[in-house]
């Protein structure tokens, strides 16, 4: 038996947000996330722990980026907001079932 080995490095980028993820911020966030895709990296974690408000426009930015990641063989996963006000929009739209979500980025990284 002949054996040869090689190693492939893969990057998972963690983007940590804090404050409001609303219509005003949705555009810039979408651009930031797209900049990783432009580099060919499609594995992202968005850490929402310190986000205190998410509306449907903020949600839409995350959903769009998640769909782009998945259609390129990657994924965008979320660290759940700690604030109930920021979680509400995920529950009401049932996107908490669509995104892979966890309580810490460490958990997401170890299960990736």
């Amino acid at each position: 038996m002949k054996v040869s080995t090689e190693t492939h490095e893969r990057a998972v980028h963690v983007v940590t947000l804090s404050g409001r993820l609303d219509a005003l911020e949705a555009g810039p966030i979408r651009e930031l996330l797209s900049s990783y895709y432009a580099n060919g990296d499609h594995d992202l974690i968005v850490d929402l722990r310190e986000v205190d408000f998410v509306d449907s426009a903020g949600l839409a930015a995350l959903v769009k980026a998640m769909k782009d990641a998945r259609s390129n063989g990657g994924d965008l996963r979320l660290v759940r907001p700690t604030a109930e006000d920021a979680n509400r929009v995920f529950a009401l739209t049932r996107f908490d079932q669509v995104f892979v979500m966890a309580d810490s980025s460490a958990e997401l990284l170890s299960d990736w």
Partner: protein, 130 residues
């Protein structure tokens, strides 16, 4: 308690909604504030996004009575065509179109009327303590 807030039709202006609602609801269960803010925010975002008001503005009227908060939004933009709205299918994730679905879940009531050149949205929220 009554209050009026006139806002320019842009996303930055929408950030005044939260503090305005907090003032209006002083003395009421503050745990409801977050979900009410989200609902009113969705209503107002729609006016910014879709109404194309010629005066670039809209007005919010708030009114608290008998543990009910009534919010009216008035703009002079294009009419809303309910027939053209498709409700999102929960099993098919789409990118946008969740604003009205979210508001309908948070509010007790949501009504829209077109009067002359005005769009009038009226929505109510229960203020009962949990």
């Amino acid at each position: 308690m009554k209050s009026e807030l006139r806002l320019e039709a842009n996303y930055l202006a929408l950030r005044e909604i939260g503090p305005w609602l907090a003032d209006l609801l002083v003395g009421h269960d503050s745990s409801l504030l977050g979900s009410i803010e989200l609902g009113v925010h969705e209503l107002a975002t729609n006016s910014v996004d879709h109404a194309e008001s010629p005066d670039g503005a809209f007005v919010l009227l708030g009114h608290v009575e008998n543990k009910v908060l009534t919010i009216e939004l008035v703009d002079r933009g294009v009419p809303f065509e309910a027939a053209e709205v498709t409700v999102p299918d929960p099993d098919v994730p789409q990118v946008g179109g969740y604003g009205l679905m979210i508001l309908e879940q948070l509010a007790t009531e949501l009504r829209y009327v077109r009067i002359d050149d005005r769009n009038e949205w009226r929505t109510t929220f229960a203020l009962n303590p949990m």
